[in-house]
Symmetry: C2
Subunit: 102 residues, 2 copies
């Protein structure tokens, strides 16, 4: 468990918005929501380097949008949909259930 990074139990709207204002991070959340299952960091379709992607995943995790855990050497990502819907009803629906680029 020592390799599992920390996750917040409470949510701050400002921090959540700062996470979601970035289009790459919004794309990560949208892909997780669309797939309906956990996705490993290397399997997302995002136009950034691995180190930049790691930064984006950290911002999302620290804001409470995703959970991360390891399977072997793969870092997996889970969308915290229920937690977010409870803290900010309607927010994810408003932001990620529309066509990319809209």
């Amino acid at each position: 468990m020592a390799r599992t990074p920390p996750h917040p139990d409470t949510f701050d709207l400002q921090q959540v918005l700062e996470a979601l204002v970035d289009p790459v991070r919004r794309s990560i959340v949208t892909q997780l929501d669309a797939s309906g299952q956990d996705i490993k960091c290397g399997a997302f379709d995002i136009p950034v380097s691995k180190s930049t992607a790691t930064h984006h995943f950290n911002v999302l995790r620290e804001a409470g949008l995703i959970r991360q855990y390891y399977v072997g050497t793969s870092r997996m990502n889970t969308l915290r949909r229920a937690d977010l819907d409870d803290a900010f009803p309607g927010l994810l629906d408003a932001l990620i259930t529309r066509p990319a680029g809209h």
Copy 2:
């Protein structure tokens, strides 16, 4: 009409989010929504200088969140609630119908 600043007819989610990620701008939108009527620029409760406030109003107007018009020398502000709800259903509800600071 020459003094009426331009307003967009279409909305861009990225631009709307960049407008709403700022807490002062979110406060302006929240105050407009709560009052239910138009408010002149000088009458908002925001902790910034007049020139900074003008910048924030411009960002909100250019993103499509507010309409501005003059009454005498006062610049009035209208929340474009229906336009926004049509373009991004649920977004304003998710962002501005909660206690300040939450």
